[in-house]
Symmetry: C2
Subunit: 259 residues, 2 copies
């Protein structure tokens, strides 16, 4: 191959099962080394939310959760277990929608999502559910910091999770925590092929990277919770970044009133 532009998305297979208290940076480093995938300057590490939650002890058993009166009320409408509703409420700052089909909230991280992102896939125990990390950007920063200290390389970290979207069937992966990467590739004010100045284009590149990584990470029994994205030169690695830059207020949302 000559004169091509190629991005490689490498899934780390044989990743060890993650337990409460595990050092994810160390596990990622070790697994990458074992597989002969050296971590290099500019690499973007995409880490599935579930292992971050596990490492941070964010797994709860419903039998240990005491549902509030409010949770019991909502459970009647959502047809979900009152203790599950209680977990969602504790992880949320605002209820967006309660129906027999769905329970949509703005979670404590500011993400509008179903069930505050709480689910039980890939969690051991019939009664066990994983909550999102408490501060997902912090989680990403810690992993990034440790990997940079261990390797001496400048990397970015994206923590990803799977989300349903309005208007379209099926789910895609979003970035829910970031460290070391500009969430956008902003073309506004730049020129296109014919010197026309672009006005709107501002690509949410971290969401696209999360989606790309999901293609190797998967959802089920693949057992690949981390992917390394290499040669992605169009991403800007920067200290100054926050996932909340991706959030939009209802007032600003062009789709306001359409659903």
């Amino acid at each position: 191959m000559k004169n091509t532009k190629t991005i490689n998305i490498i899934g780390l297979v044989g990743f060890p099962s993650v337990k409460n208290g595990d050092d994810l940076a160390e596990l990622i480093n070790r697994t990458a080394q074992k597989q002969g995938v050296p971590i290099e300057d500019g690499d973007i590490l995409v880490v599935a939310q579930k292992i971050v939650s596990k490492a941070e002890g964010r797994v709860f058993q419903l039998k240990n959760v005491d549902p509030s009166k409010k949770a019991k009320e909502i459970a009647k409408t959502t047809l979900k277990h009152p203790s599950f509703v209680e977990l969602v409420l504790q992880a949320s700052q605002r209820i967006v929608k309660v129906s027999s089909d769905t329970f949509i909230v703005e979670d404590n991280n500011g993400i509008i999502c179903i069930n505050a992102g709480i689910d039980k896939s890939n969690i051991k125990g019939d009664d066990s559910y994983a909550l999102l990390p408490r501060n997902i950007d912090d989680s990403a920063r810690q992993i990034r910091q440790k990997i940079m200290e261990a390797t001496g390389k400048n990397v970015a970290v994206i923590i990803s999770d799977t989300y349903s979207r309005p208007f379209r069937k099926g789910q895609v992966e979003y970035a829910i925590g970031i460290a070391g990467i500009n969430p956008f590739r902003d073309y506004r004010g730049k020129e296109d092929l014919y010197s026309y100045v672009l006005k709107v284009k501002n690509i949410a590149i971290v969401d696209e990277i999360a989606a790309a990584a999901e293609l190797v990470i998967g959802q089920g029994s693949e057992g690949i919770p981390v992917a390394i994205v290499k040669n992605l030169n169009s991403a800007e690695l920067t200290e100054k970044c926050a996932t909340k830059d991706l959030f939009i207020s209802k007032q600003e949302d062009l789709f306001k009133g359409t659903l």
Copy 2:
């Protein structure tokens, strides 16, 4: 590298400028060969909508468009050119929202989007705008058919475009036309790491592939309108597929009433 799972996303650089009537399959084949990127069984070709529109003569000059009375009325609210509004109306089956900030429609292909996907980036001429292809799945099928005939390889084709989304800032790439690929990777009924049967997970894999390809295709003056995705074993190549399977009715949409 041993025991890894790696996907490669290869951007075709040096792609010729596309004109009305061009045979895209032939251009893709030739450019791939010239770059030493052989098209192989299982490859997924992601083609930016703009070159499909150009090849199909879907570029219009506003000065040649006669705005209807309805277009003139709407133009007063949207603050857009009446002839631009007319193009959007002709490309749409339903108006979703008209405001001074935005003009959202359900286009003739069934996509809910701003301005029916019509824009002027990477289109020659100050007054020229590109409409989406008339039947985008048909366009994808034609490209796929010709590439398969020329190469003897089984490939899939995704035509992609950039979309704004509710709830999140910035745009990401979506699949707007598909051929030869199941739009979903459906985990419902399958088991996770701990034999728990997944109930909801149904990944819109073609949207994730479009997003992944955008990472090399870009938006501005990159001049890379096609990417080849290799080694994506988790995609199911199948004749039976349609982009409309990704659409959801307002009644079914879990986010109904949230915006």
